[in-house]
Structures are given as C-alpha cells and as structure tokens.
C-alpha cells in the first residue's frame, strides 16, 4: 500500500505540474469542474495501479486472516473477496464512467 501510494504520488505530481486547475467559486459545480481532470490518462493509470496493489494486499490479507482466525483458505478467501470485489467493482465503474 505504501509503494502504491508512492507511485500514485509521483504520477499525481507529474499530472498536477502540467495541469490547468479550473477556478471554481460555486461548490455545486465542483464535480463538473473536476470531471475533465479525472479524464486525464495519467489519473486513470494511477487508478489502475491502485487496483493492482489493492489486489496484492488482498492476497496478503487472505493468508493473514487464515492464520489469525484459524480459518480454512476457502473461508478466508471468501471473507476478503467480498469487500475487495465491492471496492474493485466500484473503482472500475468510476474508471469507465469518466471515459
């Protein structure tokens, strides 16, 4: 997660240094104003990398849960997979929505 955060920080810095941030005075238009920023390929790549590292973390959590709670591998996999599936689906949906 730390490595993921570092890579995302580098990509985000690279993006922000060349981006033109719009001036928004109306909070209601915040989403509308940020939408073009989220469409940037750099931001999308950052999201994909975040998902990859999250999957790696989930893999570690499965073994951690198995030994900490004396669960079978199958039960530990189900326990981690449910919230992870929700997170990944949400992230992919966000990614597809802005494209």
């Amino acid at each position: 997660m730390i490595i993921s955060g570092m890579i995302s920080a580098v990509l985000f810095y690279n993006f922000v240094s060349t981006a033109q941030i719009p001036v928004v005075t109306d909070p209601a238009k915040m989403t509308e104003a940020l939408e073009p920023l989220m469409k940037s390929p750099m931001m999308q790549l950052s999201t994909v990398i975040g998902i990859l590292f999250m999957l790696w973390s989930a893999n570690i959590w499965i073994f951690g849960l198995k030994h900490a709670r004396n669960l079978t591998t199958k039960n530990a996999l189900i326990t981690v997979a449910i919230p992870m599936a929700v997170y990944v689906l949400y992230s992919v949906w966000q990614l597809v929505r802005v494209m």
Binding site: A19, Q20, S40, P41, M42, V48, L52
Partner: protein, 382 residues
C-alpha cells in the same frame, strides 16, 4: 361790331381755363417717397414683403387716403387691398406693406402701386422687383491628396454667395457617420462673400467613399438648399503599424478537456509605433477565453520589434478555428483591430496513449506483471 362777341367769348374761355387750373392746383399732393423689398432679390417662387412709404407733401392740409393696392402681372400679389386707411396729416408719412410671390422665371418685374385719396391726385407708382435664382455655391477648398483608413483627414468646404443680396442662416450638414462635426453653422453671408467650413473625416474602411454635404440657407423667410457630393478614395496607410503573427503553436492542456494554450510572436512590420497592443480571443460560438491568459497585454510595439504572447482558450469539439484579435492604438488614440484565425486539431479521444509518456506505460505494465507474479508465487509456496 362783330368783333365784340368774339372777344367776349375768348375772354370767358381764358377765364374758364384759368379757373380750371386754379381748381386743380388746390388738390393736395401725396407721394410715394420710398419703398423696400425684403429680401431685396427674390429667387423663383420666393415670397417677399414690399413696404411702400406714402407721404403727404402738403404743409397745411391733411389728406384722406381711401384705397391702396398693388397690381402685378408676372408677380403674384398675395396680400389684400387697403380700404379707408384714414387721414394723413400734413408732412406725415405712412408705411403700407404688401406680400408678393415671384414666378418661375428670372427677370426684372414692375408691379404697380395705386393710391387713391380724397382731394388729392391718384398715384400710380411702378416698383422694381428682381427675381434671380442664382443659388449659393459650395465647393471643396482643400482635401488631402491621400486619405488613409483610420486616420483623420481634414476637409475644407467653401461657401460663396454670388447673389446680389445677403442670405442668412447658412449651414452645411452631412449624414456621414465618419464625419465630425455633422453640421457647421456659418450664419449670414453678404453678396459676393465666401466663408470656409472644416470637417474631419476618419474612415473606418478602405475603398471608395462619397460624402454628401447639404447646404441650407434662407433668402428672407424662404428656405433653400444645395447639395455637394465629394468622392474620396481611402487606402491603407503606408506608414501605419502593421501587426503580423508568427510562430503560432497550439498545445492542448493535458488536464483540462478541450482547453488549448496558444503561443506565438506578434511583430510590428509597419513604420509607426503600435501602442497599447492587446491580444484577445475573438467572440465566436463554442469558443471561450479562459484563465490565466484570457487576454495578453503586449503594450508598446515599436517598428521592427516583436513580442511573444500566450492565450488560453476553451473550445467545443466541433470548433476547428479560433479567431485571435490584435488590438492597438495609434498616436491619436484611434483603436485598430485585426483578426487572424488559428487552426485547432481536435483531440483524438481522452484515452490516447500518445498523451501518456511511454515510460509511464512501461512502469504500469511492469507493476502489473510484478503484482501478478507475487500473487502467483504466494499461492504456489502454500
């Protein structure tokens, strides 16, 4: 004996004639001493006022004036006759006014004035009325040889009065929007006098222009007018500042959709300074200038000098050309504006790999492979 009646007849005849002369000598004397016509010289169809002064020349007796009238064949008399005017004391005078109207032919006319008085001889007096339709003249006195677009040119017109009388209310007007002032009042103009009126013409477009001037004046109470058309050819100034854009580059902003940064150089290829130079994005449908460079102030641009500029613009997807407006002022503060179009190539989708550095793509692929290998290895070890 036969001579006696003859002599008696002759004597009576002589006495009769003498008595008749004596009776006539007793009639009072009335005269027209002067007359005035205003305006003195009429133009065709003009209306004029004739004032006749009638004077009782007697030193003792008064005269009863019964009737006064004016008759004219080619001059129309508009006013009515005077009846029972009244008694005119010895040595007194009386002004009688008549209104006349000129015909449609120039010339000298002699309308009659008839005055009948009790105990006085009737007067039949001929007045001289001149009808001369020569109008005022208006002509160009001075106009610049070359007239340039956006530069002020002084045009001088001269108004002359070739008539025999003074005209009043002389003014020159024009409906041309680029001419200042729109009207010049000259006032009265005596016979054979001329006056000059000056106008400033600042054309905003080159090519042929025709300035129409209208001269208005009054001859007495009668309004008259004359027109003058001045054809002028407006050209581009040979010395004025000439702004040219070079090195134009259009760069899409990576973070914002359809926002472009336009950079380039603005050059002054003319022989005069361009002051207060400002670069702007022109108004057009689907085009909007955005911060931080909605406009770019260049300032003074000397001849053969240049300056770089930057503009930010947001365009709709169907827009392919963006108008750039160059504004500058000359020494007189006259604002000039020139537009130039720059082409914009629409962005080919938002996920184009061309917008992401290749190194970043490789990094993403390496990370993906690393994560997959790590997960696979952890399951294999188990």
């Amino acid at each position: 004996m036969k001579l006696l009646p003859l002599l008696l007849f002759l004597a009576l005849f002589v006495v009769g004639i003498s008595c008749a002369y004596a009776a006539e000598e007793q009639k009072s004397s009335v005269m027209i001493t002067s007359y005035q016509i205003s305006p003195e010289v009429l133009m065709r169809n003009d209306v004029s006022t004739v004032t006749v002064t009638v004077k009782n020349m007697e030193s003792v007796k008064s005269v009863n004036i019964k009737e006064a009238r004016m008759l004219g064949r080619d001059i129309k008399v508009l006013s009515d006759h005077y009846f029972n005017i009244g008694r005119l004391g010895p040595g007194e005078s009386l002004n009688l006014a008549f209104t006349i109207k000129a015909g449609y032919t120039d010339g000298i006319y002699y309308p009659k004035v008839l005055i009948e008085a009790e105990g006085a001889q009737s007067i039949r007096y001929l007045l001289q009325v001149k009808v001369d339709s020569t109008p005022l003249t208006i002509s160009v006195k001075d106009v610049p040889e070359d007239i340039f677009k956006g530069e002020r040119a002084r045009i001088e017109l001269v108004v002359g009065n070739p008539r025999q009388n003074t005209v009043t209310g002389v003014k020159i007007g024009t409906d041309a929007k680029e001419v200042i002032p729109s009207e010049v009042f000259i006032g009265a103009l005596s016979a054979d006098e001329s006056k000059v009126a000056s106008f400033n013409f600042t054309p905003q477009a080159k090519g042929a222009h025709v300035l129409n001037f209208k001269l208005e004046f009054k001859n007495g109470d009668n309004h008259h007018s004359a027109a003058l058309s001045v054809p002028l050819n407006v050209t581009e100034s040979k010395k004025s500042a000439e702004l040219i854009l070079t090195g134009l580059e259009v760069e899409s902003m990576p973070a914002a959709m359809n926002v472009y940064k336009i950079t380039g150089d603005i050059n002054n290829a003319g022989l005069e300074e361009a002051k207060s130079v400002v670069m702007k994005v022109g108004d057009a449908e689907g085009i909007e200038a955005v911060h931080p460079y909605k406009a770019y102030f260049v300032g003074l641009l000397s001849p053969d000098d240049f300056s770089s500029f930057e503009l930010d613009v947001k365009v709709c997807e169907n827009v392919t050309k963006v108008p750039l407006i160059m504004e500058y002022k000359d020494e007189d503060g006259t604002l000039f504006s020139k537009a130039e179009y720059v082409s914009i190539e629409p962005r080919q989708g938002t996920t184009s790999s061309g917008e992401v550095p290749v190194s970043v793509v490789i990094l993403g692929v390496v990370i993906a492979i690393f994560v997959i290998v790590a997960i696979a290895y952890s399951w294999k070890r188990r």
